[in-house]
Amino acid sequence: MAQIKVKLFGVFRVDTHVAETEIQAEKLKDVFGALNDKLGNVQMDSGLAFKDALVYINGEPCAKKGRKLNDGDELWLLSPASGG
């Protein structure tokens, strides 16, 4: 299991009031459940779920759920956004 840092952005952050947290996970697919466990199965009023997030690992986009994680990896979870 890797020790990773997760940063939440957009609706994920506003709804959970959590900017960042640390969890242990082996693969990307484990992150979403681990986050729910850590944050107490938080219910976002927007109906979004962590598994729908746009994920960046160490600054690069990654959608492969089987991607193996390493100690010290930093994940960004973003909600969809547009309009400026």
């Binding site: 957009g10 959608a63 969809p80 547009s82 309009g83 400026g84």
Partner: protein, 643 residues
């Protein structure tokens, strides 16, 4: 005989020189051809301008237009438009505003007002339903935009300029409430005409063709806007500021005068930071169902907060991570009456000139203690502020640095740097009014912000840019906020980016070019309305004008081509659709040659699909769209464009 509903049926013509007013001829035929808003204004100006006419010529007109949906109870329908020759670019600008002036203008009985001439002394024009009264504005001269509005009668629609407009800063803007017609320097044209303020008052409202059906559409429309992932969730919760983090992720957050796309301090200037530590409340334009505006505190006053543009351009782009300073500067710029995008872009360019040892204005990347003072100097044209008041293109012509003077056609770019969103770059280059993200077609909405289509491929981008440019043109012409058009994108494509179906659809996007081109050229084809576009239904039920997806695209194409040929008549050269060399020639990621804007690959396709040659509409294209100008004027303008 005029018979369309939704309109007041009158256009007011005000001669500021003689202080007289009359009615400008505008018929149902004109309404059906142009719809309203910026397309109507482009048509009026196209038939007024002369070759070589300049922004500060007495004969330059200011055309303030509304759309037919304004006043008809439709959501997000209080927008109005100001078009004129821009002092910043020398070509037409169309500046859109969400304040309530448009609604009040219709209440006063007019769909539009044209200001011509120049008053000898500062003047306020008061538009009433049965009269136009000119009052002395000497007592308002020198006042800020808020002070000026507070000194005008309550319960009226107001348009005002601040000190920047009075001093003809080339990117001065016009305010209605706390909203602004920001881009292209319309405030400077107000100032040149000594037009400090306009008020409008009345109690009329437009009639509606089919109230029952319109109400039904409006109800569904509000529901769509309130439940869509972008308009119902992200924009109300985070405002436009919520884009800072996604832009950082996608490497499109303009940083250090667009030399990079990521900023280490992005979290400190983000929408999340604004929402958690500075937001007092949301605010909305009249009739808005989205409520994206942020209210914050400056000096214990609750004022309009910064949008994404100012957070990016006065944050990452000048290497500043102090959001409290940005909030304050945003308020200062509003009070002075200056376009924050152009002001910030010009400051960033000045910083790079200093860094390169070309010219030191006292502005340096990462240094923030003298920015507010410089904004005040710009507004009053004092010292170096007098130079910066002319924008980045002028500075680059004086001192050099054109390759990194980040403007298109003289207008500074918005906060999205386009080397990781190449279709957006094409939009910037081809936009009629210059470096505007919205007039560009807002291609980032498919290139990472909204949908996640490959942002580095040039395939299909020309066709998509044209479609979005035309669509946004017509949405704006109807009087609608452009944010309503985001609801066109199916929610699941946005909310479920990791679904296999979403990935398949997005992967196919770059290859829809031929279909989009077909729609653009054979606009009679999609004669059906699609439920995703409530505007076309609303226009039909509000006005009685037959309206479908086809007519929406045709109005957009009409407006885009009318503005373009007007620009050519005003002196725009062939192949003027360019970007600074930094964006087209230098890869943002040095080891990835795809990270530049390949205009050379996209423009030929774009021009072919538009029916343009070297950026100029062909005579055949103008005739096809029903744009009527004198052939000799056209021929002379085209000849001059190649000179």
């Amino acid at each position: 005989m005029d018979h369309y509903d939704g309109y007041m049926g009158q256009v007011l013509f005000v001669d500021l020189t003689k202080r007289t007013h009359s009615l400008f001829p505008w018929t149902d035929k004109d309404r059906r051809r142009t719809l309203g808003g910026k397309v109507m204004a482009a048509d009026i100006l196209l038939h007024h301008i002369k070759p070589g006419m300049k922004a500060f010529d007495e004969d330059n007109w200011l055309v303030v237009t509304t759309g037919p949906l304004t006043g008809c109870g439709c959501p997000n329908s209080s927008r109005f438009n100001i078009s004129t020759i821009s002092p910043l670019t020398g070509i037409l600008t169309s500046s859109n505003c969400g304040g309530d002036f448009g609604l009040w203008l219709k209440r006063a009985g007019y769909d539009a007002v044209i200001f011509s001439g120049r008053s000898e002394t500062p003047v306020t024009v008061n538009i009433l339903h049965d009269d136009v009264i000119f009052t002395d504005a000497s007592g308002l001269w020198g006042k800020t935009t808020t002070e000026t509005q507070e000194m005008l009668p309550k319960r009226t629609g107001k348009l005002v300029i601040g000190p920047a407009g009075e001093h003809k800063v080339l990117y001065a803007c016009v305010f209605s409430g706390e909203r602004t017609a920001g881009r292209g320097g319309v405030g400077a044209v107000f100032g040149d005409k000594n037009l400090k303020a306009v008020t409008a008052f009345g109690t009329s409202l437009p009639t509606v063709r089919n109230r029952e059906k319109l109400q039904k559409i409006n109800k569904k429309w509000v529901h769509t806007l309130k439940t869509h992932p972008l308009t119902g969730r992200q924009l109300p919760k985070l405002g436009t500021a919520g884009l800072i983090a996604p832009m950082q992720a996608h490497k499109i957050l303009a940083t250090k005068n667009f030399s990079a796309g990521r900023f280490d301090g992005f979290e400190k200037i983000s929408g999340e930071e604004l929402a958690e530590n500075h937001l007092v409340s949301n605010a909305a334009c009249t009739t808005c169902a989205i409520r994206c505006a942020r209210m914050v505190k400056v000096d214990d006053k609750v004022v309009k907060g910064p949008e994404l543009e100012i957070l990016g351009l006065l944050g990452a782009n000048i290497l500043n991570d102090d959001i409290e300073k940005i909030i304050r500067w945003n308020w200062v710029l509003d009070e002075l009456g200056m376009d924050s995008i152009s002001a910030a872009g010009t400051v960033a360019f000045a910083m790079e000139l200093a860094e390169k040892g070309v010219r030191d204005f006292g502005l340096h990347f990462g240094q923030t203690d003298n920015i507010e003072e410089m904004f005040r100097k710009i507004a009053l044209r004092e010292g170096d502020g007098d130079l910066l008041a002319n924008g980045s293109r002028w500075l680059s012509e004086e001192f050099g640095g054109k390759d990194y003077a980040i403007n298109a056609k003289g207008m500074e770019l918005a906060a999205y740097t386009p080397r990781h969103a190449v279709g957006h770059g094409l939009g910037y280059a081809t936009a009629n009014r210059g470096g505007c993200h919205l007039n560009a077609g807002y291609m980032v909405v498919v290139e990472g912000l909204g949908l996640d289509v490959d942002s580095l491929t040039y395939h299909g981008k020309a066709a998509l840019a044209i479609m979005f440019q035309n669509l946004m043109e017509s949405v704006s012409a109807g009087g609608e906020c452009l944010f309503t058009s985001y609801a066109v994108l199916p929610g699941f494509l946005i909310d479920k980016p990791n679904w296999p179906l979403t990935k398949i659809i997005l992967a196919a996007f770059p290859y829809v070019g031929p279909v989009v081109n077909l729609l653009s050229h054979f606009t009679k084809a999609p004669m059906i309305n699609i439920p995703l576009l409530p505007e076309s239904y609303a226009i039909k039920y509000a006005t009685g004008i037959p309206s479908t997806m086809a007519t929406m695209l045709t109005w957009g194409a009409y407006g885009y081509n009318a503005e373009r040929i007007a620009n050519v008549i005003l002196g725009q050269k062939a192949d003027a659709d360019t970007l600074p060399g930094r964006l087209t020639d230098e890869p943002q990621d040095p080891d990835d040659p795809r990270t530049r804007v390949p205009l050379d690959k996209m423009k030929p396709t774009y021009y072919r699909a538009r029916g343009w040659k070297d950026g100029i509409p062909t005579w055949h294209r103008l005739r096809t769209l029903g744009i009527k100008i004198d052939k000799s004027v056209y021929d002379a303008a085209v000849k001059e464009a190649y000179r």
